[in-house]
Symmetry: C2
Subunit: 281 residues, 2 copies
Amino acid sequence: MKIIKSIKKMQQLANNVRKHDKTIGFVPTMGCLHEGHLSLVKQAKLDTDITVMSVFVNPAQFGPKEDFKKYPRNFKKDCYLAKKSGVDVVFYPSENLMYPKGFQTYIEVVNLSKYLCGKSRPGHFKGVATVVTKLFNIVKPDIAYFGQKDAQQARIIRQMASDLNMDLKIKTMPIVRERNGLAMSSRNAYLSPTQRKDALVLKNALQKAKDMINSDEIDVGKIKKQICHIINSVPSLKIDYVSVVNADTLEDIEIIKGRVLMALAVKIGRTRLIDNVIVKR
Amino acid sequence: MKIIKSIKKMQQLANNVRKHDKTIGFVPTMGCLHEGHLSLVKQAKLDTDITVMSVFVNPAQFGPKEDFKKYPRNFKKDCYLAKKSGVDVVFYPSENLMYPKGFQTYIEVVNLSKYLCGKSRPGHFKGVATVVTKLFNIVKPDIAYFGQKDAQQARIIRQMASDLNMDLKIKTMPIVRERNGLAMSSRNAYLSPTQRKDALVLKNALQKAKDMINSDEIDVGKIKKQICHIINSVPSLKIDYVSVVNADTLEDIEIIKGRVLMALAVKIGRTRLIDNVIVKR
């Protein structure tokens, strides 16, 4: 497995791969790898010839009061896991290289960024869209892989790639959960054992909502109320948002119809967790 | 010469060219070609194997009160001139294809867009940066060519390409002038014979400023005053801005030092013309 830190070298490798008619699968990450990331690698290895993973904690997507500095980093372990799962190239650039002095270009996916996490994290998706575009221009993937856990991010990247005519495919892979149901996240590392147990209620609330829909409940107000009720029953949790939206536009809906995204963000202590489920009706 | 209207087909052609180790030179235009555009084609033909020109009047870079609708269009004549000058492919997409329903992704080069034309045309450079990124992703050039007449645009595109790690070169080519000195522009088509004569004062004012600097005048205040004085001596002209700035940052300066951009925008009737010169000291 190659580790590349230089943008130029990464581009040269990508050009070389493409010139030999081989395809590139790309898994962008902020490191601190878990089974969710590795499921993306697995799919990339099935689909493409060369699997590139980037490890870069992107300062542009963190708010001034967010956890950029303490975001978990463990490059040595990441390399071990990446190699074991068959990654061919790890792209690991420095912050100075990615955001040199005078950097000032940003990409905004205007409408889709207004909702859900966009409301509580202003500028977050601008940072995501910008770094992903940069990484796409550096790694030149045929297919790029994103996790459904970050549902809004996946939707935004897909829109951006289409709007900007990026000549690549976006694949969104299902949420990977721990055995108890907790959605895998690098931020789970922040949780105490008690908090991990409390966090299970996210998944349970979404499951209950799904059950309601399966029992033909279509009143979004009632469903949201039930989700909030379940989460609020655990005193350590504080709801950031509970949203039931059109999975394509991310706009609020009143009646369950078509592809629906049920998504929530909750704070446990200082840790912000998200989870979601898509239902079709 | 090929005319391609489909984004997919243009990308396929570009991929094919690159796979055969040939290079692509790209001249983006809004049509209504003049000698300025053709000088870019000439350079592209010297530098690269295949020359692609796009002809697309980009609605996103016009303000609501600007001349999008009446902007001169003459695709037949453009094709004639493009073919004659050796263009290999004209990319000529429709507005619906470039900006389909739901389009919402925009690129902003924050600081450089604040000055000069950015002040009087809010959103203009966002529209330019966005369409150029789209065109780059469609045409996949090795080198893209821009005219120095749009000095701020050229500077912004260069910054964007660098910030977003676009794997291509930007070349800025000198202003092409009519024999009498008027900078070539598609918008010159709007001018009456009298207005064309009056417009010569733009070039003359810049020449006078250059002469002052060559005679060791370094006080920007005095130079700007002289430029304004010359332009205001023609009653049909109305100054939008007269700026003397650092050619790299586009920030105002007080003393002539280093690479300096002297740029101006003037209205003649309803037509807005720009011109500029770079001096080094």
